[in-house]
């Protein structure tokens, strides 16, 4: 069983995603990075599902894929809105409110 490899790959993907979210200024890229993280999760779930020999892992993964799609939709909408108002999608420029 190649569980550990799957997990390592998942972890790697997740780390990359986290880095992307925290480091990229472009809103769209941030969304993409989040997708990466979610896919890392899916990978884990499927792998564990195989290991435990249960279907719920795959089911969980399916749910995540579906929900992720919805999430990204909303996310892109918000980014568009921002772009319309501020002509920019650099997430770190939005700090009207703080403190």
């Amino acid at each position: 069983m190649l569980l550990n490899q799957f997990l390592l790959l998942g972890a790697l993907l997740f780390a990359v995603g986290v880095y992307g979210v925290l480091a990229r200024r472009n809103g769209v890229m941030v969304l993409m990075s989040i997708e990466l993280m979610l896919n890392a999760v899916n990978l884990n779930l499927v792998a564990f599902g195989l290991q435990h020999d249960v279907v719920s892992g795959q089911v969980f993964a399916l749910f995540i894929i579906a929900v992720a799609a919805a999430e990204v939709g909303v996310g892109l909408a918000i980014v568009l809105l921002l772009y319309r108002n501020r002509r920019s999608i650099a997430v770190d420029e939005f700090d009207l409110m703080k403190g």
Binding site: L7, M37, N44, L45, F60, F63, E71, M97, G99
Partner: protein, 554 residues
């Protein structure tokens, strides 16, 4: 491996009565959307009414289920309807109803997509209602996203307003990021337990002990919800979002969605993670202390009332986290039916629920007053409350009641919420518990510090000539000036005190009675009556707490 066994699909048994509340909500939501498409503009004024009535109707099946009393379980225990879930569903619905009442005029007077607003509100509520019944990682996740995604959009609902947009953006990014982290944790949990339903996880963890993977798994999951309940240091989105979002939405987020987070935590911690007590309890101990202390201290420095309430909400969340820190310090007792012995502390469980209920009403009340007062002052600054007692004594008294309640001063309801927290700690009577009790006591005092600032303005100060044009409460007014580059440059001076760099336009102020509307009056009435009633006869709420805690049996 035998995929055949895996794919063999059995159609699950559906208990329509049990699903009635969710279905009703769904129906109402759809109805609102359809009506919006079908009807002409005049009829659209009916939408809030429609939504409100729909919510009230939703209470009916909840009541019938409660009367019926049988515990119903579906989808292999992933979705359960019992007293616990019913109590909280009722709470969500009521909170939602009050929010609708708060929204009616606010949404109508601002330029919003009115109907979609209610659709989203109802959808989000649907997610919460589902959350109350979820007993499985999958259903918890689905419910969470179902309640979050509409909330992201609501936060950004004032599409013209940069602040609103920014609020939405921050909420969204942080939200999805947090849920991604949470999901990663969930996947590990699944890996350890081999299944996604709480029961299995619980047993697996009992055996597992605190191996590194378990620790990481649990912590990541908890972080996801710590974000939801805006616990320090995962709270950072809350003040900005609360300030930027439309006030009713803020109220909604600060009460309903926070409550949903706690509901999920209750399920996870008290049932699924019991085996990992030595990870969970210290984590929550620290989390609770940091949350209430930091929340209180920062709140002391706020000059914008919504922002102040946001931080106060953070601190209150800290109080609600306290029972988790002693969740498993009870004497060993056997769960009726299940036959497993556990050291879960029932009073801790009740404490959270009791606090949730009371907090919902008093906080919604406070926000209602903010809404109402803003209709006169067009400002969200605390200073703008000066002399309120002179020209609108009734409103001042209401605000006093809610703030006193938040500060935990009898006879307003809040005192009982604080009391049950203390009671829990005393019940656990561990050294850590006593220390925590002392910290809670100190924080209760600090908290009054900033509530008092509002009281001082309302009661002690004369009526001002001018008020600062507010951040949010006054609608879009200030967003235009927020666009000016002056604002942006003001932010680059590195000063971290937003309230000092924020450019404020002072406008003349004429005192006078608060322009009330029926809906707002209703919202105030409901909240104040509930707050006082819960204070004078806490028996009501504590009864629900007891009822709900039977859930521990399942």
């Amino acid at each position: 491996m035998n995929l055949g066994a895996l794919v063999a699909f059995v159609r699950p048994e559906l208990d329509w009565h049990a699903l009635a509340p969710e279905l009703t909500l769904l129906a109402v939501g759809t109805l609102v959307t359809v009506a919006d498409i079908a009807l002409d503009d005049k009829a659209k004024r009916m939408m809030p009414t429609l939504a409100g009535i729909g919510l009230l109707i939703t209470l009916v099946p909840i009541l019938t289920l409660a009367a019926d009393g049988a515990e119903r379980s579906m989808f292999g225990g992933a979705y359960v309807v019992d007293d616990f879930s019913l109590v909280l569903k009722a709470l969500f619905i009521l909170a939602g109803y009050v929010v609708v009442l708060m929204s009616v005029d606010y949404v109508r007077e601002g330029d919003y997509y009115e109907n979609e607003y209610y659709t989203l509100l109802l959808t989000s509520l649907l997610g919460m209602v589902m959350m109350a019944s979820s007993r499985d990682l999958v259903s918890v996740f689905v419910a969470l996203e179902l309640l979050s995604i509409p909330a992201y959009m609501l936060a950004a609902w004032r599409k013209g307003g940069p602040r609103s947009n920014e609020a939405g953006l921050k909420y969204y990014l942080m939200g999805v990021f947090a849920s991604a982290v949470m999901l990663y944790g969930m996947s590990l949990v699944f890996g350890v337990a081999g299944d996604t339903d709480f029961g299995t996880i619980s047993e697996a963890l009992r055996g597992e002990g605190a191996s590194p993977i378990v620790i990481v798994a649990i912590l990541f999951v908890l972080v996801g919800f710590a974000f939801k309940v805006s616990a320090v240091p995962f709270h950072t989105w809350a003040p900005d979002t609360y300030e930027g979002a439309p006030t009713p939405v803020t109220a909604f987020l600060s009460v309903a969605s926070k409550a949903a987070g706690f509901v999920a935590l209750l399920g996870l911690v008290f049932v699924a993670f019991e085996g990992a007590a030595d990870v969970v309890q210290p984590f929550f101990w620290v989390l609770a202390v940091v949350t209430m202390t930091v929340g209180n201290l920062i709140a002391l420095r706020q000059t914008n009332i919504v922002r102040m309430l946001a931080y106060s909400g953070v601190a209150q969340g800290g109080f609600m986290l306290v029972p988790f820190a002693v969740a498993f310090e009870g004497d060993a007792w056997t769960v009726p039916g299940a036959g497993i012995t556990t050291t879960v502390l029932p009073s801790a469980y009740e404490a959270v629920i009791v606090y949730l209920i009371i907090y919902a009403f008093m906080n919604l009340g406070a926000f209602s007053v903010v809404l109402a007062v803003a209709r006169r002052t067009r400002s969200g600054e605390i200073d703008s409350y000066a002399g309120l007692f002179r020209y609108a004594p009734g409103m001042a008294v209401l605000m006093t009641v809610f703030l006193a309640s938040l500060a935990g001063i009898p006879p307003a309801g809040g005192w009982f919420a604080k009391f049950v927290i203390f009671r829990t700690l005393a019940d656990a009577s561990t050294p850590a518990g006593w220390v925590l009790a002392a910290i809670v006591a100190v924080n209760a005092v600090i908290a009054f510090g900033y509530y008092a600032r509002v009281l001082v303005q309302m009661w002690f100060e004369p009526v001002p000539e001018t008020v600062a044009l507010g951040v949010d409460a006054s609608g879009d007014a200030e967003d235009e000036l927020a666009d000016e580059p002056a604002e942006a440059s003001a932010n680059d001076d590195g000063g971290f005190v937003a309230t000092e760099t924020r450019q404020q336009t002072m406008v003349a102020f004429t005192p006078g009675p608060i322009p009330m509307t029926g809906a707002l009056a209703a919202a105030l009435a409901i909240t104040v009556v509930a707050t006082m009633a819960l204070g004078v006869f806490p028996g009501l709420v504590s009864h629900f707490g007891e009822v709900a805690s039977f859930y521990l049996g399942g």
